[in-house]
């Protein structure tokens, strides 16, 4: 049986911040359906802070819970703080993940970081 903890199950059953942002300031996409999981993160940035974070995820229970947790952890943080969200901290916040699902926590943090980088890239190009 899959050994997801209570917190993982909560985020899986009631994921926070699901959806997309039409006029997102940054978009980050990782994974692909071939390897099982795919996540897209959308961010709105205001005063160097993550004003809004949304995601869409194709994947297993852990992937969905991780996405939800990452979005919640990121919201309101400065970009620098958000970039420090690590897969380890995500797994910890979720109260742990089964060993063979730990890679999912990588994906979540990566997708967020990609979205931030995408935003920063755009800002650079604007200048």
């Amino acid at each position: 049986m899959i050994m997801y903890g209570k917190k993982v199950m909560d985020h899986f059953m009631n994921p926070r911040n699901v959806g997309d942002i039409k006029d997102a300031d940054g978009i980050g996409e990782v994974g692909n359906p071939v390897c099982g999981d795919m996540m897209t993160f959308y961010i709105k940035v205001k005063d160097n802070k993550l004003d809004d974070v949304k995601f869409k995820t194709f994947g297993c229970g852990a992937a969905i819970a991780v996405s939800s947790m990452v979005s919640e952890m990121a919201k309101g943080k400065t970009l620098d703080e958000a970039l420090k969200i690590s897969n380890k901290s995500v797994a910890e916040e979720l109260g742990g993940l089964p060993k063979n699902k730990l890679h999912c926590s990588n994906l979540g943090a990566d997708a967020l970081h990609k979205a931030i980088e995408n935003y920063q890239e755009k800002q650079k190009n604007k200048k």
Binding site: I2, P33, G36, G59
Partner: protein
């Protein structure tokens, strides 16, 4: 959970039939002797083995002395491959099998390759069928063994075993078939199938875990896998698991008796489930062949979403299913069967296997048909691949 739990995962194992359990119960504490013993305590266990052998043979049209009891389907398959190949190694070193075999065939074959054997896995079509002509093409003078699964445990496709065995016979090549997902579920006659050996197992037919059998046609040379005492005519050493084998025998007897009834009943449930899901959910696909499939198999792909998350939501509703998605597999690999059938990765990832059995009911089918659409909907809304 308020509602009764629904077990739609009969392909992974089955509930033990009450009659089977009652039959095996005395062999734990009363008739607990060792069947090899010369004293009276050896009598009832010995008779239980004889009776089980009779029923196991009866189920597949074999003779009693052609049945060797083992501990599981995996052991039967390993025994067949190693035993037949090693007994024939003076004649050649080439084995043919298919891409849709169970891992208990695929993984030993990988080991064979490391030991210097050559292994060819023939492809399958989109329904999962092996084309007998493809096997014929691969045969060469070194080919000593062909092994093809009878009914597929994932998508339920039933292979044309007779056509393949005709080819094997013509070329004088041994032919094994893995019938773990067939025997007890669909009619099996080893003589009509023309196989030299055949795997079947208790836990797939309402018998207990821990017992299975390998049929080996009389006169076929096979080396034992487990060596030691001379149980099972010296072909499978080890104290016999008497209660499990007794229960297996009983399960074989019941399966044979009630085969037609079960097939009719379960097929109807299956068709209702397929229709029910199709009528309520868009972008679904039935995997495997529309008709040439085992009675209880409903293997469906739900586009844009991933199987484990469907399985989990169904589980929250008390409904037990399986999935061929990589996330749902302990090895984190998509089902090799689905990939061999050419399913695009997203479709393979979005697959759910509902496997029905004789203890399932129309009410359960209806409940699943009702509960499933909102789950699919919810997950699709979450998916980056889905556009409304």
């Amino acid at each position: 959970m308020t509602e009764e739990k629904i077990f739609f995962d009969n392909a992974s194992t089955t509930r033990v039939d009450d009659r089977v359990f009652d039959y095996m119960e005395p062999y734990f504490k009363i008739n607990y002797g060792n069947p090899s013993s010369l004293h009276d305590f050896g009598g009832p266990p010995k008779e239980a083995l004889d009776k089980a052998r009779e029923h196991a043979a009866g189920l597949i049209g074999a003779k009693e002395e052609e049945i060797y009891f083992t501990s599981c389907g995996t052991e039967s398959n390993n025994f067949a491959l190693w035993g037949l190949a090693r007994a024939s190694k003076d004649r050649g070193n080439h084995i043919i099998s298919s891409r849709v075999e169970h891992l208990s065939i695929i993984n030993p074959l990988k080991e064979f390759e490391k030991e210097g054997w050559r292994v060819t896995l023939v492809p399958v079509d989109k329904y999962g069928f092996v084309n007998p002509e493809d096997i014929k093409k691969e045969i060469n003078k070194d080919t000593v063994l062909i092994s093809i699964i009878h009914a597929n445990n994932e998508v339920g496709t039933i292979q044309r075993i007779k056509e393949i065995s005709d080819i094997a016979k013509e070329k004088n090549i041994l032919f094994h078939s893995d019938g773990a997902a067939a025997a007890g579920i669909i009619p099996v006659d080893v003589n009509k199938l023309g196989v030299d050996s055949y795997t079947f197992t208790s836990q797939q037919m309402y018998g207990p875990k821990g017992a299975a059998a390998l049929y080996v046609r009389k006169g076929v040379r096979i080396k034992p896998l487990l060596l030691g005492g001379i149980q099972e005519s010296g072909r499978r050493a080890g104290t016999e698991n008497v209660p499990a084998i007794a229960g297996f025998g009983k399960a074989c007897e019941i399966a044979a008796d009630e085969m037609d009834k079960n097939i009719t009943y379960i097929s109807k449930l299956r068709d209702n489930l397929i229709e029910g899901i199709k009528s309520r959910v868009k972008n679904v696909k039935l995997n495997g062949h529309p008709t040439k499939r085992t009675p209880g198999n409903v293997h469906m792909s739900f586009e844009f979403i991933e199987g484990e998350s469907i399985l989990l939501f169904l589980n929250l509703e008390g409904i037990a299913t399986a999935s061929g998605s990589s996330c749902a597999s302990q090895a984190l690999k998509s089902s090799h069967v689905l990939l061999a059938m050419g399913l695009p990765p997203t479709i393979a990832q979005g697959s759910v296997l509902f496997s029905l059995g004789k203890y399932n009911t129309q009410k359960e089918v209806e409940r699943v048909v009702e509960v499933l659409p909102p789950i699919i909907d919810r997950l699709r809304k979450m998916s980056p691949l889905y556009k409304e």
